[in-house]
Symmetry: C2
Subunit: 165 residues, 2 copies
């Protein structure tokens, strides 16, 4: 497990950079893309030390990046046959459905949920408007946001399902 080499070959760097760009779009830090990318192109599970050595990032970054990837379900611990090994090794999750599911659960759902409670508060504020016509206009706009959020909630499972194939 792991790897003894001290540096990443050209193709490895190319893949790592690809994932750095990829996670950027998703609003995740570069270190997360580097770690996932390296894991993705590695034939064997890797440990925190492997990431530090091959990507030349700090232990802190590697630790935090791995935590996020674990949270997203993008990475799993390799089962440690070789019994007495203290170090933990990781493997990438490579099924798109799973990756997207984790992203939705960790990054999108929480926002939709907190959005929901904000909408409730907006409705209450709108009710306090004195002028009837202004109140109606504002209420209609809030209803529209509300509808947007419901639509989005409905679409997410479909997306996940479609990506499973």
């Amino acid at each position: 497990m792991g790897t003894g080499t001290r540096e990443l070959d050209a193709l490895g760097r190319q893949v790592v950079d690809f994932f750095v760009d990829g996670v950027r779009v998703l609003g995740l830090p570069p270190s997360v893309g580097q770690i996932y990318g390296l894991l993705f192109i590695s034939r064997t599970p890797l440990s925190l030390d492997d990431f530090v050595r091959l990507l030349r990032i700090s232990k802190g970054s590697a630790s935090q990046g791995l935590r996020m990837l674990k949270g997203l379900g993008a990475v799993r611990e390799a089962d440690d046959h070789n019994g007495a090994e203290r170090r933990v090794y990781y493997e990438p999750a490579v099924e798109l459905k799973r990756l997207v599911g984790g992203f939705i659960r960790e990054q999108i759902r929480p926002h939709l949920d907190s959005g929901k409670s904000k909408i409730t508060r907006l409705y209450r504020s709108a009710d306090l408007i004195d002028d009837a016509s202004q109140r109606q206009f504002v209420t209609e706009r809030i209803e529209r946001i509300d509808h947007w959020m419901r639509s989005s909630s409905r679409v997410l499972p479909v997306v996940q399902k479609l990506l499973g194939k």
Copy 2:
């Protein structure tokens, strides 16, 4: 058109903040959320100066934010009945389908496209690997990314369609 008031009421601020958080998730700058949010809750079209005054942002931010919103199709110029008006007024696009369409076109498609050419380059690099077994492993992984991207491309139009209702 526009508004004479010098400051935003409490509900207005609430809505603006809601959109600031919203666009954040999409990776757009706060000023863009402020501008769109103000427009969204305004009964009349607004001009650049209105944004500067009510949101207390610089002319530069307002100009750049509007440019981005125009690019996304999230904002349109109000037609200027009152003939001789130099200033341009804006209205928000409020149909989710349209907003999502603009976002896909401007922010997602370009990444998928540039990703595609990177994949091509990766395939070429993989072909140069000497060791047959390593070459096969790497090629399989690249094929997997390739497949991810194709899946994503197929899903986008479906998403847009589903959000249209």
